[in-house]
C-alpha cells in the first residue's frame, strides 16, 4: 500500500468515526427528548384521570337529599299521564339520553298522543338516570328526568309534549347533553308555564329519580326502552309505527 492510499484510508476511518459519534449524539438527544415527552404524557394522563374521578362527586355536592315524589306518581316511581280509567296501562322505562328511547319516541309520538287523548291508554313513564355516565359528568339524564318530574308535578298536561320535545332535540350519547337553559327553552316551547320552568334548577326530584332507577332495575328491568302493556313486556318492533298500536288495540279488546 502506498503512502497516499494509507493516508486516504486513515482519513476515511476518522471521518467514519466522526459520523458514528455524531449519530450517537443525535440518538441520545432523541432518546432524552422522547423520554421527556413520555414523562409529560404520563403526568397528563394521571392528572386527567384524577380530575375525572373527582368531577363526578363534585356535581352532587348541593343536590337535595329529601325524597320528594311528584304529585300523582305511583309507588313504583312512575309518572302518570292520561285518563286513570283508561283500559290499557302502558308502562315506559326510558332514559332521556338513551338513543333508542329517542328513536322509539320519534316513531310513536303521534300514535301515543292520539291513544292517550282518546282515553285508550294511560301512560306510566319511568324517567331513569342510569345513563348519567354518558354525558361527560353533566348528568344529563338526571337533569332531564328532574325537569320532566317537575312538569309532571305542576303541569302534568304538558308532560308528553315536553318529553317529545326533549327527544326531538336529543343530544348524542357521550356529549355534554343539553344545557339547563336549552332544557328550559324546550319546556317553554312545550307550553310549560314559566314559574314551573324556574323551579327546574331546584333539583327537587333528583333523589326520587335515583331511587326509582334503583327500584326499576331491582324489579328486573334490564335496559331502555322497555315497554309493558298491562304488565306484560312488549317484545315487538318499537321503531316503526304500527306494531305497538296494534298490540295496544288488541289489549283494549280483551
Amino acid at each position: 500500500m502506498g503512502k497516499q492510499a494509507r493516508t486516504t484510508a486513515r482519513q476515511q476511518r476518522i471521518a467514519q468515526a466522526a459520523a458514528a459519534r455524531r449519530r450517537a449524539r443525535r440518538n441520545r438527544i432523541f432518546v432524552a427528548s422522547g423520554g421527556l415527552v413520555i414523562v409529560g404524557l404520563l403526568v397528563a394522563i394521571v392528572v386527567t384521570l384524577v380530575n375525572a374521578a373527582g368531577g363526578g362527586s363534585r356535581a352532587n355536592v348541593d343536590a337535595p337529599t329529601t325524597l320528594v315524589a311528584p304529585a300523582g306518581a305511583t309507588a313504583a316511581g312512575a309518572i302518570q299521564v292520561g285518563d286513570p280509567a283508561a283500559p290499557v296501562k302502558l308502562e315506559v322505562y326510558l332514559d332521556y339520553m338513551c338513543p333508542f328511547c329517542g328513536r322509539f319516541d320519534r316513531a310513536n309520538a303521534d300514535q301515543l298522543n292520539r291513544l292517550v287523548a282518546d282515553g285508550t291508554v294511560r301512560l306510566e313513564i319511568y324517567p331513569l338516570s342510569f345513563l348519567d355516565k354518558t354525558s361527560n359528568g353533566t348528568r344529563y339524564s338526571t337533569r332531564a328526568a328532574n325537569a320532566a318530574a317537575t312538569v309532571a308535578d305542576r303541569a302534568p298536561d304538558k308532560l308528553l309534549a315536553f318529553t317529545q320535545a326533549l327527544f326531538a332535540q336529543q343530544p348524542h350519547e357521550g356529549s355534554d347533553g343539553l344545557t339547563n337553559d336549552q332544557i328550559a327553552n324546550l319546556a317553554h316551547g312545550a307550553g310549560v308555564p314559566q314559574d314551573v320552568i324556574n323551579t327546574f334548577v331546584d333539583r327537587t326530584f333528583e333523589p326520587w329519580i335515583a331511587k326509582l332507577t334503583d327500584t326499576a332495575f331491582a324489579s328486573g328491568i334490564t335496559g331502555t326502552p322497555t315497554l309493558k302493556i298491562n304488565g306484560t313486556v312488549f317484545k315487538g318492533d318499537l321503531y316503526t309505527v304500527g306494531p305497538l298500536t296494534d298490540a295496544i288495540t288488541a289489549a283494549k279488546g280483551q
Binding site: 422522547g34 404524557l41 397528563a44 363526578g56 338513543p99 334490564t222 335496559g223 331502555t224
Partner: protein, 206 residues
C-alpha cells in the same frame, strides 16, 4: 447494569421477541374481531333485543355497532379482522419456526397492513368524534393493530425488505437500532390513552 440493558436491547431485535409480539397482538385482534362479529350477526338477526341501552353496558348503548361506519363496505368491519389476522398469525408462527419469507412477500404484507392500520384509525376517529360512544373491543383492535404494524415495520426495516432509497433505509435502520421505534410507539400509545381518558374519563368513573 449497562450489560443487562445491552442484552435487553439485543433481545428486542431478536426474531423471538418481534414475532412473539406480533403473534400475541394479532391473536388479541382476532379475539376482538370475533366478539365484534358475533355482536354484528346478533344485531342483524334480532335488532330488537340489541337496540336498547342495557344497564350492564358499561360505556355505551351499542350505537357504535349500529352506525354506518361499522359496516363501511356493506358488511361488518370486524369480518375484515377475521380474514386478515389469521394471515398475520400464520406469518408470525412460521417466522418463529425459522421460515424466511421473500422480500416481495414482506413488502406486500407491509402495504396491506398499512391500509388496515389507517382504516383502524379512521374508525377510532369516527367513534371518538362523530359517533361519540366508546367501544372497548374496538379500542383493543386499535391498540393491537398498532402493535402488529410496529413489529412488522420493525422487522422489515431491520431486514431491508422495503424498497427505499439507501439513505432513508440507513437512517431508518439506525433509528431502529437505537430503539427510537419503540419510543415512537410508546409515545403514540400514550397519546391514544390521553385522548381516551380526556374524552371518556368521566364516563369511566361516573
Amino acid at each position: 447494569m449497562a450489560e443487562l440493558l445491552t442484552r435487553v436491547r439485543g433481545l428486542r431485535h431478536a426474531n423471538a421477541w418481534i414475532y412473539g409480539t406480533m403473534l400475541v397482538s394479532a391473536s388479541l385482534s382476532l379475539v376482538a374481531s370475533f366478539v365484534l362479529s358475533i355482536d354484528a350477526v346478533r344485531l342483524a338477526a334480532d335488532p330488537q333485543t340489541t337496540l336498547s341501552c342495557n344497564i350492564n353496558s358499561v360505556i355505551s348503548c351499542g350505537t357504535v355497532a349500529s352506525s354506518w361506519q361499522a359496516s363501511l363496505l356493506g358488511f361488518p368491519n370486524a369480518f375484515l379482522g377475521l380474514v386478515a389476522e389469521p394471515v398475520v398469525i400464520t406469518v408470525a408462527v412460521a417466522s418463529l419456526g425459522g421460515v424466511r419469507f421473500p422480500r416481495w412477500f414482506m413488502f406486500t404484507a407491509q402495504v396491506v397492513y398499512t391500509i388496515g392500520v389507517l382504516f383502524a384509525y379512521w374508525l377510532f376517529y369516527q367513534s371518538m368524534f362523530h359517533i361519540g360512544a366508546l367501544c372497548p373491543w374496538c379500542l383493543l383492535v386499535t391498540v393491537s393493530t398498532t402493535l402488529v404494524f410496529a413489529t412488522l415495520t420493525h422487522v422489515n426495516i431491520r431486514d431491508g425488505n422495503l424498497p427505499l432509497p439507501p439513505r432513508i433505509q440507513s437512517a431508518l435502520k439506525n433509528a431502529v437500532a437505537a430503539d427510537l421505534d419503540a419510543m415512537a410507539v410508546t409515545i403514540w400509545l400514550l397519546v391514544l390513552t390521553l385522548a381516551v381518558v380526556s374524552k371518556y374519563g368521566t364516563t369511566l368513573f361516573g
